[in-house]
């Protein structure tokens, strides 16, 4: 027989002035199963808590209802009180007499009647509450970081410096990401490589970091604190332990005319190559698509010249497995190519390039060694037109959003161009200058005021080539949309920042959601910007939306703090509000019919298949099973299950039906 205690709080005048608390307590005393019912001025005060504690002990209560404020306020307080008195905290419920009653209604009998109803409902619920025990899950204190751009590097270093192990997986042969391709960076114009390379080296040498480059995530299973991951190490075609990085192979490889990805097609590389001189690791890979040995079966020059016999033509991809407790996704972004723009020539004009290509042209280590020369004929361009919002803010092209970084890098480009070609003329066609950041607007103003870059407000309609010049047709919308035609030598499109190819597939592997543009979605746009909806998977950098370096690094450090906080615990404690599929003995008689409707409904992939075997080991039935580590307790599965085989602890069918029945009886 249940022995429920009811504790009605006046909250001073807050409840007491509107609801007749004494009458509530008295009415509750008459409910069958209520062993004790009192009212008191301030339940949450020390004397109030003591009163509850004593009542539990004296009356041997089996459940408690505190009729006071919102459970969102004091449920933890009163559950703790119960727990201290030896009563399972999940046997305590709160009736909300303040926010849902006294504060919203006038003083009257009707209000008091409602208060009585609210308490009675919870009394019926508590009668059916079961003791629950917080779920504890162990934490593997190793983080998986995907992507070795500045975001991944920063996150990896911060986590590693907090004393935890990190596995960093980079798809390309070297870490560095886009930042390694940049010339100088706004708003301070410091050299990108100079500030990045030390960090790349630190990653390579950090005792807590295991680096897999030229590798990709194969799969991720499990749940927060307990993931299992498989990583595909693509064959570099050489023994990394033997290779000393001398580079002899790369200089001797006869296959020298492959457009270099790092130089955005503006320079060439060999078939065995290191993407750039400061690469980490500084070990080459053979690009099998272009290597003459793989395509035609002859050559093997690299093998002959290698002083350490490191080349391994027969090397195969390797799968490595790791257990990790958290995942940081930092796979970055990419930019649209010029062939995305029919009106600007579908990419057919060599001197219409995108911003990343211009970074390579400006870069001291780039294909022109930092001299501004145009791709078609190597001449120094006298007139350069920069076009902002190329593809961004363009619903007709399917990209409504602002790419955020291009106003700034366009100002930087125009500025750097003017620094290098003093007599040159730089025009920027823009729609708005979005430079919101510390020292950002000052930066774009400097381009205009000190470097005399001509900013024209208007979008370019069309570009065509005539006599080696690019005719740029625009309009100045600040001058009654007067047509402006510029004969340019070089046009730089600030093309939209977009999600990586394959981002969708990666998101599915990681069970994180992505938006309509395939950027990964954070758990809450303001308050949980580095988490995803999958517990234990975090985001950093431009994979979430286009971002500049300061923002990427800030977010990466935020992510690292989240991971470190997670790893500061040996075990995770989770609310036991999780779903369970009923299990009978023998299991064969579970009412679950194995339809797995629940599985398709669960937003957290928490429902697994469990095979019930007979004594001979034959599978006799497949039923659903909830993984309590993944279940977040939303209850969606419960509503989906037609055979009512799955129930949500704390909100069982029995409990909620009892509430409703009581309320209307």
């Amino acid at each position: 027989m249940a022995r429920i205690g009811v504790f009605v709080c006046h909250c001073g005048e807050n409840i007491g002035a509107t609801v007749d608390c004494a009458r509530v307590a008295e009415a509750c005393r008459k409910i069958p199963g209520v062993a004790h019912s009192v009212d008191y001025k301030y339940m949450c005060s020390d004397p109030g808590q003591t009163l509850i504690r004593e009542a539990i002990a004296q009356n041997k209560l089996t459940g408690v209802v505190v009729a006071a404020c919102s459970p969102r306020m004091h449920e933890p307080t009163f559950r703790r009180v119960c727990s201290e008195s030896g009563l399972n905290p999940y046997l305590c419920e709160m009736a909300n007499l303040r926010e849902h009653c006294s504060w919203v209604h006038e003083k009257s009998d009707v209000t008091t009647d409602k208060a009585i109803d609210l308490v009675a409902m919870l009394v019926e619920k508590v009668k059916r509450n079961k003791p629950l025990h917080p779920i504890k899950v162990p934490v593997t204190k190793t983080a998986l970081v995907l992507g070795g751009g500045i975001s991944g590097i920063q996150a990896a270093l911060d986590i590693a410096n907090a004393g935890h192990k990190v596995i960093l997986v980079e798809r390309d042969p070297s870490i560095g990401g886009h930042m390694s391709q940049l010339s100088e960076t706004f708003p301070t114009l410091d050299c990108s490589q100079c500030i990045l390379t030390p960090r790349m080296v630190e990653v390579a040498q950090h005792p807590n970091i295991t680096l897999y480059t030229y590798s990709e995530l194969e799969s991720l299973d499990g749940f927060i604190g307990n993931f299992k991951t498989r990583i595909r190490k693509k064959a570099r075609s050489l023994d990394e332990k033997l290779c000393t990085g001398c580079g002899l192979c790369t200089t001797k490889c006869p296959n020298k005319k492959i457009p270099s990805e790092f130089n955005t097609g503006l320079g060439m590389r060999t078939a065995i190559y290191v993407p750039f001189p400061q690469a980490v690791p500084n070990k080459p890979v053979i690009d099998r698509e272009h290597c003459t040995y793989y395509t035609k079966g002859r050559c093997r020059v690299c093998e002959k010249v290698c002083p350490t016999q490191a080349i391994r033509f027969d090397q195969e991809d390797q799968i490595v497995e790791h257990e990790v407790g958290a995942v940081v996704v930092a796979t970055g972004f990419t930019v649209k190519e010029t062939d995305f723009f029919p009106e600007y020539g579908y990419g057919k004009y060599k001197d219409v390039i995108n911003g990343l290509q211009f970074e390579r042209i400006l870069s001291a280590s780039g294909p022109t060694l930092g001299e501004v020369k145009r791709p078609s004929d190597g001449r120094v361009p006298e007139t350069v037109v920069f076009i902002a919002c190329a593809g961004s803010r363009d619903p007709a092209k399917g990209i409504e959003y602002c790419s955020k970084i291009c106003c700034m890098y366009t100002a930087k480009h125009a500025m750097l161009y003017k620094h290098k070609v003093h007599h040159g003329q730089a025009y920027v066609f823009y729609m708005d200058i979005r430079a919101a950041g510390k020292m950002y607007d000052e930066f774009t103003r400097r381009a205009i005021e000190e470097d005399h870059v001509q900013y024209i407000r208007g979008r370019v309609s069309r570009i065509y080539e005539r006599n080696g010049k690019l005719i740029v047709q625009g309009a100045d919308t600040l001058l009654n949309a007067m047509p402006v035609e510029i004969e340019a030598d070089l046009v730089v499109l600030a093309t939209a920042g977009v999600a990586n190819e394959g981002a969708e597939a990666l998101a599915q592997k990681l069970h994180v959601s992505y938006d309509s543009h395939k950027f990964f979605v954070e758990a809450h746009p303001k308050l949980r910007p580095v988490e995803t909806n999958t517990a234990g998977v975090f985001l950093a950098g431009a994979c979430q939306s286009p971002k500049d370096i300061p923002e990427s690094v800030g977010q990466a450090s935020g992510t690292a703090a989240k991971v470190a906080a997670l790893f500061s615990m040996d075990e995770l404690t989770r609310e036991p509000v999780v779903a369970v599929v009923n299990r009978t003995a023998p299991p064969l008689y579970s009412t679950c019919v194995g339809c797995f409707l629940c599985q398709s409904a669960c937003p957290y992939q928490a429902i697994e298949r469990e095979e019930i075997k007979n004594r001979n080991g034959q599978v006799v039935k497949t039923i659903a099973k909830v993984n309590p580590g993944l279940c977040q307790g939303c209850g969606t599965c419960v509503a989906f299950c037609r055979s009512k085989s799955i129930d949500l602890q704390g909100y069982t069918h029995e409990q909620v039906y009892a509430e409703v029945m009581e309320l209307l009886s």
Partner: protein, 294 residues
């Protein structure tokens, strides 16, 4: 089933050489056409300039007749008519009420409105792959293919080729031995219906087009639209008085060029009807064409 043929007013009047050359070439290629009986004017730019409803009603009547006469596809060689007919079909397919209204007015069912195709679409289909072998006199000139506005725009209505830098006419020209040039004014407007009321505008716009074609070494401009032709050919004087330059470059219909390559008679192709004489340099091919007005 023969393909329906909607010649349009220009071909029946000021651009008759387009119709003549088209029929001659298609005959040579064994393509049969049947003119839609009792077709009427599509309204051109005048109708939609003044009255949107009329701009649908006029083409709709011709489409309804074509449907009644059993055509599923309609060859519409004039780019302006083509654009009007295609747009009308699209609009009526999306607006049941309007379609029924018009059907009542013209007292025809209008259920399966025929699809309009332009001449290039038809040529794409019917020009044999090995055409080059059959040519009597390969048209080996540098040509600037001029598509104008209405053949390729807007894409969702015409559903043909690329909106910017289209390519189909260039492919066709390659097939008859010509060297199509990469030039910048393939789709820049020639002044369209302003030929009469604002000849000055036509002069300015056509001069830009001719300048670009000539400066890139084109020996002829190829068109597939009577309006483009009349603006570039008949209104040549206006271009010249705008730029103060003299342009001798001839404007040929795509069908005239094909006809010449197939060895058809220049007169049959209506070359004598041009205002700008079609003088193509000798020596390159067998043709020397002198076609001053009669």
């Amino acid at each position: 089933m023969k393909m329906g043929y909607y010649p349009g007013c220009s071909i029946s009047g000021s651009s008759r050489e387009y119709g003549e050359s088209l029929l001659a070439v298609l005959r040579a290629l064994d393509v049969e056409l049947a003119e839609v009986e009792d077709w009427n004017c599509c309204g051109a730019s005048a109708a939609h300039n003044l009255n949107h409803t009329l701009s649908l009603a006029l083409p709709a009547r011709s489409l309804a007749l074509a449907e009644q006469q059993g055509f599923q596809e309609l060859l519409v060689p004039c780019a302006a008519c083509f654009s009007r007919l295609a747009a009308t079909r699209k609009a009526l397919m999306a607006d049941d009420a309007k379609r029924r209204q018009i059907a009542d007015l013209v007292e025809l069912p209008m259920k399966n409105i025929p699809v309009s195709i332009n001449l290039l679409q038809l040529l794409q289909r019917v020009l044999p792959e090995n055409l080059k072998e059959k040519l009597r006199a390969p048209f080996d000139y540098k040509v600037a293919c001029y598509y104008g506005c209405l053949l390729v725009r807007p894409a969702e209505v015409v559903e043909f080729d690329r909106e910017e830098d289209p390519e189909e006419m260039d492919r066709i020209m390659e097939k008859i031995g010509a060297a199509p040039l990469d030039w910048a004014f393939k789709t820049e407007c020639c002044g369209a219906g302003f030929s009469v009321p604002r000849t000055d505008v036509v002069g300015r716009l056509c001069a830009r087009i001719l300048d670009d074609a000539v400066s890139r070494g084109a020996e002829a401009v190829i068109v597939a639209c009577p309006m483009c032709h009349s603006n570039l050919d008949m209104r040549r004087q206006a271009s010249e008085s705008h730029s103060g330059k003299k342009y001798t470059i001839p404007i040929l219909y795509v069908t005239q060029a094909i006809g010449l390559a197939l060895g058809l008679d220049a007169k049959q192709l209506g070359l004598q009807r041009h205002i700008v004489p079609v003088r193509l340099s000798a020596g390159k091919s067998s043709q020397i064409l002198e076609n001053a007005p009669a």
